[in-house]
Symmetry: C2
Subunit: 577 residues, 2 copies
């Protein structure tokens, strides 16, 4: 495909002179460009294909960046990037990495926020509108939200506040009848009724919240959208423009496979081999067949957690996708557990942080014996909006929460079995990234604060949390081979408690304790060792991530940066000794 | 007042034989009992006075604990406690402390959860209902919510999920036309319309969410309530029962002063002297008069933050109470800041944790230059549901967040001035509990990672965070007087960064570094010092709270427990040296 129009567009005002026919051509070019990028890098496909026309119409009608357009979660911003001077990130093979998959003010003056977690756009729009008002400015503020983003409670909080404004605030609801997987929650029933009645049904959710409202049936028609947006431009009060779009539009595969096409992984060529999501799914199906009180809970991200359509069908009523609302998911799981059921909440590290208060209050304070499986934790090359490196701190420091970090599949499954079957305490299990195998093991409550000595040495003891034991083993070999130091090797599979007895027993025979963790050091695992051993003559050296937001940095580079490589780590240790 | 009926009630089934006239008498006794307790201990007054009849009717109709009644936030549970065998906590002067102000399963089988943070009851009810269904049980699950609890997004998340249930789930909305202060947010307009139309208005919020609905105009009439509850008892689907009550009912002062009477402090006799809320209010009014871009944000707790009705009137449009929704408040503040305004968010430590994700994503990742003032932080004798000891960890470890802990009013005001006027970074200021004074100081960006040496000594260095410098000074005197040790004394007024140069300079002349902090050690301030000094020969000893939920334990006892007293602290240090 040629990108004749796209190549000429340097900014949204270049849309002004295009005819409707040309705008349709542009839409086709945008789709081709989106497909080209996703094919090369992976990314949000169906979500972006559905909003090509809406984005073109927004930029034709509103005057960005004077008018502020804020994309919820910003995973649907590809066409926005295409028409705001960043087409090279889609059509130029050599420049794709210059553009991220999310909005970022450092990338363009047309981007107002770095977003990646859902349901914040209305709150952001309220803030920008209020700033405009107190500063005596006059421009439009537009929140663009949809594709499942409405089930997060903050969207309600934003609407609840937005409706009290007596100034311009435009909320575009992109209703594509989908979330990441199927829509979950009754609010989408209301949207369906509004669609069925052309926006005229009784008990309109938005009107019930005091908001003005209009409906656009063909949300993939540029003329219809331009007409609607022109009518609300410069409006003097908040309004919701509900547009009905087709997720995946223009790509037959994406239209037919909306869930799979929501976000597409980069093609790597190599098969990934056995994964923890497969292992978990298999074990959960076995356990659920034996025990009708097990309930699997998910917050609209079944794909990342390996909860395939087949698993969901097999689990039936005992699979509950609550929509994108981790707060509810945690509180719901807490009550399931206190009510005698056995909930297992599958969640990504970056999203569990949205329920920190519920972890503290509903899980930990109430000692609700739920199991939380944290996926996608640790260093990765992901966008700064989706980092999985903070959970060691935001779970590991909460009183009454048992936090486990298995290093092998055998340890993981033993922990999972134990956690589901016990009824005393909430348990967080940090699922590793890559599958490793070890001997069969058992797990019980007495192991919660127990580290395991794998090799006995002297002078230096390596204490490795979870999967970092693999690195520790290589470092131990390197220390022995290169420096003649035979270190003690300790595997820690818990980060909510320390094995103090084992640590204190190192005194005398050791000079240095080295901790390794797969997350940020601040508030993490090693700091606790440093504090506990602080008064002792043992010195402590902690390895892990520094306190920073890293944006699409390869894990190799991160390991280099944090000295989490065998040779540099061994050298650091030798230098200190 | 005599408590003739209350004294005979051992549990809810004792209500069954009472006539309506006797139930009214019982309601009068409950009011007297509530007033007696609040007069002695303080507590939630007006909120509880308004729901006496509703609680009596619930317990007459439903069969607790077989039927599960869950009180949102549980601050309106006093009558529930009175009729479930805990009247002694209200009417027996010697036993009041045996009963807390919130529900607690350890106190009674009629209490299902420890709650204290708002908007979780519907999610909890969903969990209990789902557990009932998978376990094949058959009982009613009732969520009792209101008094401002609807503006938290989790209530929406709960409703959104609840409406998808095809089994029993009853949501009682106690609509008293109030939050803690005035109701905030458009949802309350819908409630007003529903009241005005006897529940018949178009665009019913609950019906828009697919929920069955009924309205009870006189929510203080026991017969009306009993009739309504009997009609929904054993219902086979979710329903909302909207009851209209009078906050403060029965006490003329509480009825006339609903905000002041929402929660009443224990009478202490002594005047409290100058407070940080007064100091802040004064300074903010001065600054707001000079700078029209300053906006004060609050999430429905103006009282605790000293934002008096007079302040709110003076601030006008530049005071925004968003309702009880800290997530929105943080995101809103972030966008205000990125939009060029100068937001200052007033919030309690225990409630700010509800916006951890927004702190990470919207404030820190986006470097939104908002100011967050954290009140009620540190050790206190408060209920376990409202602890202010976790913020050192949940803010201090977030990349890009500047976290300050002033030790004097002068430092605090210098930080506040600087933070509001700068436009580079988000700033959290942990406001101390008790006012202390020191020399006038200035504050600038170069002070963010700077500690200050107050006394130069040798052997041991005390590093005190924020207001703990006062304790450190006394300890220093004690060490000098009792043990002949003259310690170095260092004041740290930041906990997001360490003054590494100053710390490393202690090597050689010192053997031990002692950290002091007014919060939990896990993930806190001292651990970072222990990690950074871990490889050095300096030993480190950290003082602060352990990882535990403490429930109404006096600060004196906590200081004893944590060795945060001059003599025990000095003895600990001397022993180690």
């Amino acid at each position: 495909m040629e990108f004749a129009l796209l190549e000429k567009i340097t900014g949204p005002r270049d849309l002004d002179d295009l005819s409707y026919a040309q705008l349709d051509e542009l839409a086709a070019e945008c789709r081709a460009a989106i497909l080209k990028r996703v094919d090369a890098l992976g990314g949000h496909l169906a979500s972006n294909l559905g909003v090509v026309e809406a984005t073109i119409a927004l930029h034709r009608v509103f005057d960005s960046p004077r008018d502020h357009i804020i994309f919820d979660t910003s995973h649907q911003c590809y066409t926005h990037k295409l028409v705001t001077g960043r087409a090279y990130g889609f059509i130029d093979d050599g420049r794709m990495n210059e553009v991220s998959g999310f909005t970022n003010p450092e990338e363009s003056e047309h981007d107002w926020f770095r977003c990646g977690h859902t349901s914040t756009s209305i709150s952001l729009a309220c803030g920008f509108a209020k700033a405009r008002d107190v500063l005596g400015q006059h421009h439009n503020v537009v929140a663009f939200i949809g594709d499942g983003c409405f089930s997060g409670g903050e969207a309600f909080e934003g609407l609840d506040n937005a409706a009290t404004f007596d100034s311009n605030l435009i909320i575009v609801l992109n209703d594509n009848e989908m979330s990441i997987a199927e829509d979950q929650g009754s609010i989408y029933e209301n949207f369906a009724e509004l669609r069925a009645t052309g926006g005229a049904s009784q008990d309109n959710y938005f009107k019930s919240m005091g908001l003005d409202y209009r409906y656009v049936e063909n949300g993939n028609s540029i003329p219809d959208l331009i007409e609607a947006f022109e009518q609300v431009k410069d409006i003097d009060h908040p309004i919701v423009v509900h547009i009905h779009t087709l997720k995946g539009k223009g790509d037959p595969w994406a239209e037919a496979n909306k869930e799979a096409a929501h976000s597409v992984k980069r093609k790597t060529g190599s098969s990934e081999g056995e994964t923890y999501t497969e292992i978990t799914r298999r074990r959960m199906l076995e356990k659920m067949a034996d025990d009708p009180s097990i309930v699997v809970v998910n917050a609209a991200t079944p794909g990342g957690a390996g909860l395939t359509p087949e698993f969901r069908a097999a689990a039936g009523d005992r699979y509950v996708d609550v929509g994108i609302c981790e707060q509810h998911a945690v509180t719901f799981s807490a009550a399931l557990a206190r009510g005698g059921a056995k909930p297992v909440f599958f969640v990504a590290s970056t999203f569990l942080q949205r329920a920190y208060d519920q972890i503290v209050q509903d899980l930990a304070l109430n000692q609700s014996p739920a199991t939380v499986l944290v996926f996608q934790a640790g260093f990765s090359s992901i966008d700064a909006t989706h980092l999985g490196v903070f959970d060691l701190a935001y779970t590991g420091n909460v009183p009454g929460l048992t936090c486990l970090a298995p290093s092998t599949a055998e340890e993981y499954l033993a922990m999972l079995d134990w956690s589901i079957n016990q009824a005393e305490r909430p348990v967080v299990i940090r699922v590793p990234d890559k599958v490793a195998h070890g001997p069969e093991v058992t797990f019980s409550a007495s192991d919660i604060a127990r580290f395991e000595t794998r090799r006995i040495g002297s002078k230096v003891a390596l204490v490795a949390l979870g999967p970092t034991i693999e690195l520790a083993e290589t470092v131990a070999d390197e220390l022995a081979g290169e420096y003649g130091i035979v270190p003690t090797l300790i595997s820690a599979t818990t980060f909510s408690a320390l094995d103090r007895k084992l640590l204190f027993a190192l005194e005398g025979s050791h000079d240095l304790v080295v901790s390794l963790e797969n997350g940020v050091l601040y508030g993490g695992f090693g700091e606790k060792i440093a504090r506990v051993l602080g008064p002792s003559p043992l010195r402590v050296l902690c390895f892990g991530g520094t306190k920073e937001f890293v944006d699409r940095v390869s894990t190799e580079e991160l390991h280099q940066r944090y000295h989490l490589e065998p040779s540099s780590l061994a050298a650091d240790i030798a230098r200190i000794l």
